[in-house]
């Protein structure tokens, strides 16, 4: 039972981490909380759903399609809603308000065009389970956890080993100097938004498979935001650790205490953390954010 709960928690935590990574990437480079991230996750899920139900694509292709689609949507969102404000050197509060507007717009656009119905993905895993030490572990949970960790590890390699990754970290450190090295910072920011959107695409498909696809499903990013803050907003390892901790603790609370207490627990944890560890678990070094 405990192992089963742990794996379920880790799989939810993995999805929280994917979402938190997107938040953290954008926060670290533009210093604002992109509240439209939830809407990108939601639309990523709808894209995946369309590919799975209309084109009957397999899981791998559905995830890939959603990664590309949500990535491009995220870039488009930045170009339309944030880049103008950025060029006018608007304070980050303005960007945050613009992000909230985008979120409301995108959700209502889905209500107006697709409707408020709940959709389910086809059953990719047909409720398959694996027996480990007497516990039945869901294949979907194991798969979601593995892919989440794999994707974040790949992002870590990209950020530390490639020239573009180094440029992103340099931009986080000092965007003006990054442009004085010959980097087109508009393009760099687009790459960051694509990465955040791509992670939102994976998270959206997994959330959709695990639960349902509906216009307000992006609200779950509240949890990703908590995860990012637990880990230290702007820190990539922090987003991973924060997501996993939150996912596991939440699942343990809802299994052993009460599922009603789950969200109370999460938000209490956020408040406690903001009081005692305002920089999060891994956000002590404010210089290195990604």
């Amino acid at each position: 039972m405990f192992l089963q709960t742990l794996v379920t928690g880790l799989s939810i935590g993995g999805i929280y981490s994917l979402m938190a990574v997107g938040y953290s990437l954008i926060f670290s480079i533009l210093s604002f909380s992109n509240f439209a991230h939830g809407a990108v996750i939601m639309l990523g899920a709808y894209m995946g759903l369309a590919l799975a139900t209309q084109l009957h694509w397999g899981l791998g292709l559905v995830v890939s399609g959603s990664v590309v689609g949500a990535g491009l949507l995220s870039v488009f969102n930045e170009r339309v809603a944030y880049s103008v404000l950025r060029r006018r050197r608007a304070p980050s509060l303005f960007l945050m308000i613009s992000a909230m507007g985008c979120s409301v717009f995108l959700e209502n656009m889905v209500y107006a065009t697709i409707g408020s119905r709940f959709y389910a993905f086809p059953e990719f895993f047909k409720r398959k389970v694996v027996d480990v030490w007497g516990s039945s572990l869901s294949l979907l949970d194991l798969f979601a956890f593995t892919v989440s960790i794999g994707a974040i590890f790949a992002l870590h390699l990209f950020i530390t080993r490639t020239k573009t990754g180094i440029a992103i970290r340099a931009g986080v450190n000092d965007m003006t100097m990054c442009s004085l090295m010959g980097v087109n910072t508009d393009r760099l920011i687009s790459i960051v938004f694509f990465l955040a959107g791509a992670f939102a695409g994976v998270a959206g498909v997994f959330l959709g498979i695990k639960y349902f696809v509906y216009p307000t499903m992006g609200w779950v990013t509240n949890k990703a935001y908590i995860a990012a803050v637990i880990g230290g907003l702007g820190s990539l390892p922090g987003a991973l650790v924060g997501g996993l901790i939150l996912g596991v603790l939440e699942t343990l609370v809802s299994t052993y205490l009460s599922s009603v207490l789950r969200d109370v627990f999460s938000f209490t944890m956020l408040i406690a953390l903001l009081i005692w560890l305002p920089n999060g678990l891994m956000g002590r070094d404010t210089e290195e954010k990604v």
Partner: protein
């Protein structure tokens, strides 16, 4: 204070002759909101020269550098390279395009990527280049100029000493293989011995064919390695002459060089 390596003596023979215009700042005005920071600055840098801009704190020296690098928007005037304007009102090139023209800025207080290692800072300097062999050769050039950087290669830039940070900042700029280096207050916060060594390397950099525009509060030392100099006061050029003339000018000595 006379340094025999300087070609200044020869240049002084040509006094009165207009230098070959390589980088030219023409009637530059810059505003910060209501504050008029630069009032029609004109200056010329000839190819292969070291030209100094001296002036007290707040004279507008750094503003001039940021405007040439394309970071600060200008209100009037132009900056030209080989007669072609690249900073001119709304049609100005963007900072990354100006780097591509071969103009590289080492700003005041270094502005290193402090969370990145020395190696990563140098990679950032060469980020737009694709010639692997050329990059490797330039890296060696930086290490021969500043051997300590080789020892510190894996260290975070923020953990280096002030002098080492300045060496890294100059090396990072050189990695883009610039034809013009803009140096803003390189001696700021450095011990006199470190500053001497640093100014020696600026001469070496010029010997390799790089043109240098040097902005300094440490006027005497800057003019000592420079060919010509401009004096900037409250956003206006008030004097321009060969470095030797400026050093000898009693009024300038009194106001900017400590009087003696």
């Amino acid at each position: 204070m006379v340094d025999e390596r300087r070609p200044r003596k020869e240049l002084e023979k040509d006094l009165g002759k207009e230098p070959e215009k390589y980088l030219e700042v023409r009637g530059l005005h810059v505003h910060y909101g209501n504050i008029h920071a630069l009032h029609g600055v004109d200056l010329v840098v000839g190819k292969g020269e070291i030209v100094c801009v001296v002036g007290v704190n707040g004279a507008g020296k750094s503003t001039l550098m940021w405007a040439i690098a394309g970071v600060l928007p200008i209100t009037e005037g132009a900056v030209l390279l080989n007669g072609a304007p690249f900073v001119r009102g709304a049609a100005s090139a963007r900072p990354h395009e100006i780097v591509n023209l071969g103009i590289s800025l080492v700003p005041e207080r270094r502005r290193l990527f402090s969370a990145l290692t020395v190696r990563e800072n140098l990679i950032m300097g060469s980020i737009r280049r694709t010639d692997r062999e050329g990059i490797a050769a330039d890296l060696e050039r930086c290490f021969s100029l500043y051997p300590v950087l080789r020892e510190r290669i894996a260290q975070r830039a923020g953990t280096l000493s002030g002098g080492e940070q300045q060496m890294l900042a100059i090396s990072r700029a050189l990695m883009s293989r610039p034809s013009i280096l803009l140096l803003d207050e390189p001696s700021l916060g450095l011990a006199p011995l470190v500053t001497d060594a640093l100014f020696d390397t600026i001469l070496k950099i010029r010997e390799e064919g790089v043109t240098v525009l040097l902005v300094e509060q440490n006027a005497l030392q800057a003019l000592d390695i420079g060919d010509r100099g401009y004096v900037l006061r409250t956003g206006r050029i008030v004097e321009s002459a060969s470095s030797g003339e400026l050093i000898e000018n009693p009024m300038i000595r009194e106001a900017y060089l400590g009087g003696s």
